[in-house]
Symmetry: C2
Subunit: 377 residues, 2 copies
């Protein structure tokens, strides 16, 4: 995934990253010696850099609690890193052993409490290699520290997220002007991805889901060769990425006509989504939002057919904190953004899901605004 | 990445997977208690299943050296796993703690040598969590065991790889019929991806590279908004995926006209690639192939501008063993497939790279066959 690369970083943005890094380092000090951050969303969050690195070549941002940052990078990326605001970069070539560089760095560390922070998405291959070279440490995933910063979106983050949300809304309105009957799920997924790019997305925030007819009963269905036909309900679940930030929307539409039962189930899901949305405000718990959706569906007798959480936080990651589950006691705060996406899945028959991205303020505010009334094409 | 999902597995394929798994388990016994395999290419190689799982939900294939396989999966994937030939699946819901299931499994293991095999691409978050629950083990990346199986392609693998190679050839011939001048790198990358799908690819095997003019001097350039203009050399590096298997091709083309110097550099790279190709046969070392490319470029005085390895193995992974580096002593065997992709990169000016996928037999055999003579559009 190569989401966004700041080619020439503006002064303001640069200061932003230096500031973020400083706050992170201050926090790191409380418990850890060093953080090891492989390329990914936290790397981007802290540096503005998003190198498209490969699994087998070590590419690492090393952040000590005290002292200077260093990036260990394959020489291959020298050009790409020219504009980096981090000047301390050790390049290695294919004939070198990059873990030796790390070993030397660690041997020279003054601080030795034995606690390391590790990028969540770092491939285990790299972590195992690191451990072989530097010995035993107590490891902690970086999300335990960094998510408290990332969970609150600032104005700049929100500008990007609003734009990403606007893109998926436009795609929806464009899509329902087209004739989708007879097209395969894959056709439509490809079309959605293309439309998102046309409207300014750098890419998708996850693999687009198009689930038609009985496939809709599988919440994470992979689009296949099934053709959309009259009488289908079709779940469209997709997201755009803008300057690294994600949106995520789901709408369920009907082809040709809709049965009374399908219509009934649709309205239950829509009410559940609306009820959860209305429960959002700073100060309530995540689980209360989950409950607000769940109780509507349970009351109507479909509780057993809504078997996933109500939503997930969203930002640089398509899935991040806060998770909207039945057990999450976390109190919602201003600036948090998450999805609300209840669904009902009737195996062998059909599924319905409706999803919006919601920002927490005094009340909730929908970032995705495409209409939720059932569209019959 | 969701490459390929066998929806209804044929009898033959099913036997194939059961056989592969048995061979793997036999080998596992030599040293390990268990292998933990998160979704990805090894998961697919051994099971034919490629669930599109998420980072934060535990989805694990547990292969004990003795005893029965088990899959620990979020309940969300129940439908997707219905056709699985592995019947022992423990589903968990968002309210459960899936690591407790793993803990119980490990407590009941009879074999306790203390060695664990871990999927290379498993996110560190999951590995750290696993370790917290099951305690200390000696960890080894799964590639150290499984690559000796995956490195030799059988007839079925090769059928898929030939098809994937054929797709990228067709895309090249299609592309050079078009007018590319004035289009941005992103436009062309999008077009290439679309063409690959049109010709039957499930997707790309990596992020498509289009690097024009001076951008070509960066081997891993991310396509940007630069427009192709007369006098540009343009590097096109892309790959298709077919039934999970990858191809990877690079061609460098010229827009409008080409200078004498560019033409000279182009011919050096082409000769280097050809020379390396001719050196391929079962029995020679990987480093000899690297040397065969490198010496042509060095002899012409451009040694310093070819600063990456000559190639990498390819199969289910776009990058896998054998790596064609200056130090790899591995002896090439029948059925191995790798890329040969020398390049010359002149910072601030331009770059040239030519790449084919080559199968080892008595001699080498190119899977990608698109013409290598310089095309001037």
């Amino acid at each position: 995934m190569s989401y966004f690369m700041i080619e020439k970083m503006e002064e303001v943005k640069l200061m932003n990253f230096e500031k973020k890094m400083k706050i992170f380092q201050e926090d790191l000090k409380k418990k850890f010696d060093v953080a090891f951050i492989s390329p990914g969303l936290n790397f981007y969050y802290l540096t503005g850099l998003s190198p498209a690195s490969t699994l087998e070549r070590l590419f690492l941002l090393v952040v000590p609690a005290d002292g200077n940052l260093v990036i260990i990078a394959p020489k291959l990326y020298q050009n790409e890193l020219k504009s980096s605001w981090i000047s301390n970069i050790v390049y290695w070539e294919d004939k070198d052993d990059p873990y030796e560089i790390l070993k030397i760095f660690m041997a020279n560390l003054e601080r030795k409490t034995g606690n390391l922070l590790i990028e969540d998405s770092m491939p285990s291959l790299i972590l195992i290699n690191i451990m072989k070279y530097i010995g035993q440490y107590r490891l902690e995933p970086i999300s335990t520290v960094i998510s408290k910063f990332r969970i609150i979106k600032n104005e700049e983050d929100l500008k990007c997220m609003e734009r990403a949300a606007d893109i998926v809304d436009r795609v929806f309105y464009d899509l329902i002007e087209k004739n989708l009957e007879g097209k395969t799920e894959i056709d439509i997924a490809t079309l959605i991805d293309q439309l998102m790019r046309n409207f300014g997305a750098e890419g998708t925030s996850f693999e687009t889901i198009v689930a038609s007819g009985a496939n809709g009963a599988n919440p994470h269905h992979t689009p296949g060769n099934r053709k959309l036909q009259k009488g289908d309900l079709v779940i469209l679940d997709y997201g755009a990425r803008y300057q690294g930030y994600c949106s995520d929307i789901t709408r369920t539409i009907a082809i040709g006509h809709v049965s009374d039962n399908e219509k009934k189930v649709y309205e239950i899901v829509k009410d559940a989504q609306e009820n959860a949305f209305r429960s959002v405000k700073a100060g309530v718990k995540a689980k209360e939002v989950d409950y607000s959706a769940r109780k509507v569906i349970e009351r109507c007798g479909y509780g057993a057919f809504f078997f996933h959480r109500t939503g997930h936080g969203i930002g640089l990651d398509a899935h991040e904190e806060p998770y909207i589950t039945s057990t999450n006691e976390r109190i919602l705060e201003n600036g948090m953004v998450f999805t609300i996406e209840p669904g009902i899945y009737l195996s062998g028959k059909f599924g319905v899901r409706i999803e919006d991205d919601v920002l927490v303020k005094k009340t909730g505010e929908r970032l995705t605004k495409a209409k939720r009334e059932l569209v019959v094409l």
